[in-house]
């Protein structure tokens, strides 16, 4: 280990820039990982404050705070920011920090592209957020931007929206290329594919999904752009196009996208549960195959978002069956996690708390997903708060909770300090309670018939919405505790050992905490 530290000093003395230029020009995977993680947390707060505006307006029936046009901008930009600005960059940040350390590589394979893929992101989101301040406001057609609402009937911010999505897409594709090239070429000797940690495996598969579908999204936004400004009629029946074709293209991107936002979570949970159960992950190989199966099926289910568009009944049946099938590999994963805990020797540190909450709440989201897959009942659920409840269960108490779990698991490795566990437990319990007060009653609102994306509602939904809003404010405030924990951990705290968790396994725990600037310049031996 001393050689590694020695190397780091060598580099620092010669050409490591300091101050702002260190961060601007950095090609170091750890620096870039930190940039991604901080950026995603800032976006999480920005997108979250938009959710607060939505929940404040919906606190009571009637229009109180914002007009319906601005409300639509809030729902749209909230969705875009949370998907492309919070969840995806957080996973890329984790990939940057952890994949090289987990496979015993010195850095990512393409460090300059790595720098670029991060540094175009702030511009993408600056463009998107700036559009909110232009005349006519920002995009107001939902994050799914269905044509022709986003073409003929949209404001001029559409052009800014299109370019910002393009930049986000380019960033994601570059990030994905980097992950694939790194994993295929830079594994330490002896680190065969079937020895890779599951976080590496799930990201490897996610990266292929990204490369497959981000160009489809780019195509969709480009067609929106040309339909709106250059007289094409891709989505306009009057010119021979079809507005439903937009939805097919969008969801061909959109469905794999939701797995892009959950597969890395599976990897994180598969690292944390064995660590705190002090028992090897149950069914490693079946986890890998299940991940691959989910990724493959994700290309065959897109039209389950479109059951009410008037598809032929044969297509409805096909997409219903394929969608139901996804619950088989997903179930295998959940069963494997429970079997890992079974007859383990469990302790309940903060990462484990988040991981356990993930398993339960993600599974609840999976159940509502299975209900939504059944076409005849989807006709009732579609575009109601039941759907909103479903995807927030899998994305907030799923993806976001797994990101929190990952942060609490690896923070000692990143900062070299233990965090304040009392505060962290407060963060967990307030988040857990408020997230359920926030999203669980939404199921009832949806079943009772409340459509989504409405700024005002019938009086019978008033009580449910009030509870939901209170949960929302509480969940929003709880995340400030997380910020406090992280800042405190970066600045001070008890010195963390190389391996702070008794049952943790993996190469990242063989390097000191904090991880030196350069790790594994000499590859480790894996047997």
């Amino acid at each position: 280990m001393s050689t590694v530290v020695g190397e780091m000093d060598h580099h620092d003395h010669h050409h490591a820039p300091t101050g702002i230029s260190r961060w601007l020009f950095t090609t170091n995977h750890k620096d870039i990982g930190s940039l991604y993680l901080w950026f995603s947390f800032i976006m999480f707060l920005v997108g979250g404050s938009m959710a607060m505006v939505i929940r404040a307006e919906l606190f009571q029936p009637g229009l109180q705070l914002v007009d319906p046009h601005f409300f639509n901008q809030m729902t749209t930009v909230h969705g875009l920011i949370m998907v492309f600005g919070a969840v995806m960059p957080a996973f890329t940040g984790l990939a940057n920090w952890m994949i090289p350390m987990m496979i015993g590589a010195p850095d990512m394979a393409l460090p300059r592209m790595n720098n670029w893929s991060f540094w175009i992101l702030p511009f993408a989101f600056a463009i998107l957020l700036a559009s909110l301040f232009m005349e006519g406001g920002g995009p107001a057609f939902g994050w799914t931007f269905y044509a022709p609402l986003s073409t003929t009937y949209s404001g001029d911010s559409t052009a800014l929206f299109v370019f910002s999505v393009h930049i986000m897409g380019i960033s994601s594709i570059m990030g994905a290329i980097n992950v694939i090239v790194t994993i295929m070429n830079m594994r330490a000797p002896g680190m065969t594919y079937m020895k890779m940690p599951l976080f590496v495996w799930t990201w490897f598969i996610t990266a292929f999904l990204l490369i497959a579908v981000m160009p489809v999204l780019a195509g969709a936004v480009t067609m929106v752009l040309t339909d709106k400004y250059f007289g094409t009629s891709f989505f306009d029946a009057a010119g021979g196009g079809d507005p439903v074709m937009f939805q097919h293209i969008f969801w061909f991107f959109g469905h794999p996208e939701v797995y892009i936002m959950i597969l890395p979570s599976f990897g994180i949970i598969s690292a944390i549960i064995p660590a705190f159960s002090r028992k090897k992950l149950f069914g490693y190989a079946s986890m890998v195959y299940a991940t691959a199966a989910i990724a493959g099926l994700s290309f065959l289910v897109w039209a389950h978002h479109m059951f009410t568009t008037g598809m032929p009944v044969a297509a409805e049946l096909f997409f219903m069956y394929c969608t139901m099938l996804i619950s088989v590999p997903t179930g295998v994963k959940v069963f494997n996690w429970v079997a890992t805990m079974w007859r383990g020797s469990m302790t309940f540190e903060v990462p484990m708390l988040f991981a356990l909450a993930f398993v339960i709440l993600f599974t609840i989201g999976g159940f509502s997903g299975l209900m939504l897959a059944i076409t005849p009942i989807d006709f009732q659920y579609h575009d109601t708060y039941f759907v909103v409840a479903h995807f927030h269960y899998v994305l907030v108490s799923g993806a976001i909770f797994s990101i929190m779990a990952a942060a609490y698991y690896w923070l000692p490795k990143w900062t070299g300090h233990m965090y304040d566990t009392t505060l962290a437990r407060w963060h967990f319990w307030t988040s857990l309670i408020s997230v359920n007060v926030l999203f669980f009653p939404m199921h009832f609102a949806g079943l009772a018939g409340m459509p989504r994306r409405i700024p005002d509602y019938a009086v019978q939904f008033a009580d449910i919405n009030q509870i939901v809003s209170i949960g929302g404010f509480a969940f929003g405030l709880s995340q400030l505790i997380f910020l406090w924990v992280v800042i405190k951990c970066v600045r001070t705290g008890e010195k963390a050992p190389a391996k702070p968790w008794e049952g943790a396994e993996g190469l990242e725990w063989t390097v000191p905490s904090p991880a030196p600037y350069h790790t594994f310049e000499t590859p480790p031996k894996v047997d």
Partner: protein, 373 residues
């Protein structure tokens, strides 16, 4: 840890129940909606059972197999038999779910042999109903007063779920809906019928229902369709077939008379006061959603009508745009929605309100020229 969660949830539930809020899917009033409800409950119960088993095993393990109780970890990490079992058993459960789901779906999608057909057309932000085999058609607009939405009046029982002219259909009759749109995508949804179908511009979708009980059934537009998406409810009244026939005959007679009356009134002029009074009412009901009550519009989204070139100097262009709409924008054609008198009045109003003060008066006969061109 669980008790706290449960307490939090339990604290919320009685609150919601006390106001008699509905918490579950409606059973509805048709055979199909009942089948959908049963399917919903079946799948829900299956999920509950699976959830109880999985979470039960998990909590048992969390309680028993913990280090603080001195539990030593086992070392197993694979078991092919178990793994095959929990792949195959869920698959069989899914097959069990798919069978009733398929038969319900096939029943829902069978739109053949309908007795009555209604064309449903969505546009920003209202529904239009046309009885295909009769000479009856009309628009259906939100009837909740602006003052209730802006919290200046107490909200009524059917706040945001009431319209000026509901769709009327017969009971015990298979009614087919042809659903389309004039502008963006809308979605026509009546939960009690388990009918939700997108209205796609340029394409026609089909749905059907057969209502057992007379009554008033309320729903909403389900697909985001722009600014007032939350303000375009669907209200359907189901009447006994005889009552329905009487209603339909009456409507047909009234609509024919209104058309004849309109032609007769072409020769008559209205005074400025009459035009302005009618015009203001029409404006607030049909134009203010976009152009705003003060005529200023929303910059960058909906144009202002105050002091513009068209308002001050282009009376022909003004009548034309109201009558025929403007392609490629949210400005729709009002010639089927408003009478000639109403169009004349609203154009007059717009040319003289908010300081436009042109003094121009437009009469029904002036508008007629544009409708028939």
């Amino acid at each position: 840890m669980r008790t706290r969660l449960i307490t939090a949830l339990a604290a919320g539930l009685p609150l919601a129940a006390s106001a008699q809020s509905q918490l579950n899917l409606t059973q509805g009033v048709t055979e199909v909606s009942n089948r959908v409800y049963d399917l919903h409950m079946t799948i829900f119960y299956i999920c509950c059972v699976i959830g109880a088993i999985v979470f039960g095993a998990m909590f048992y393990s969390m309680w028993r197999h913990r280090k603080s109780k001195g539990y030593k970890p086992a070392s197993f990490h694979e078991n092919v038999k178990v793994e095959i079992a929990w792949t195959v058993i869920p698959f069989l459960i899914l097959v069990g779910m798919a069978i009733p789901a398929t038969s319900t779906l096939l029943a829902m999608e069978d739109t053949s042999e309908a007795d009555v057909t209604v064309l449903v057309t969505g546009s920003q932000w209202k529904w239009h109903y046309k009885y295909l085999d009769r000479d009856v058609e009309y628009f259906s607009l939100l009837a909740t007063p602006r003052q209730q939405i802006e919290n200046r009046l107490d909200k009524g029982e059917n706040y945001l779920l009431e319209v000026d002219r509901p769709l009327v259909i017969p009971t015990d009759t298979k009614v087919r809906f042809l659903i389309t749109s004039d502008d963006v995508i809308h979605s026509w949804w009546v939960p009690d019928f388990a009918v939700k179908k997108d209205a796609n511009p340029g394409f026609i979708n089909e749905a059907w229902t057969k209502v057992d009980e007379p009554g008033i059934y309320r729903g909403q537009c389900a697909e985001l369709c722009g600014k007032d998406h939350g303000f375009m409810p669907v209200v359907v009244i189901a009447k006994e077939p005889a009552e329905y026939q009487a209603w339909l005959d009456e409507q047909e007679r009234m609509q024919r008379e209104a058309k004849a009356e309109e032609q007769r009134l072409l020769a008559m002029s209205m005074s400025m006061d009459e035009l302005m009074e009618l015009g203001e009412r029409v404006y607030l009901g049909n134009c203010a959603a976009c152009h705003q009550p003060n005529g200023q519009g929303i910059p960058g989204v909906f144009p202002s009508l105050v002091g513009t070139e068209m308002m001050l100097n282009d009376i022909n262009g003004h009548i034309d745009i109201v009558v025929n709409g403007k392609n490629g924008t949210a400005m729709q054609s009002f010639k089927n929605m408003l009478s000639l008198r109403e169009i004349a009045a609203v154009v007059t109003y717009e040319r003289n309100a908010w300081g436009n003060n042109t003094g121009d008066m437009v009469q029904a006969a002036d508008v007629n020229a544009y409708v028939n061109e």
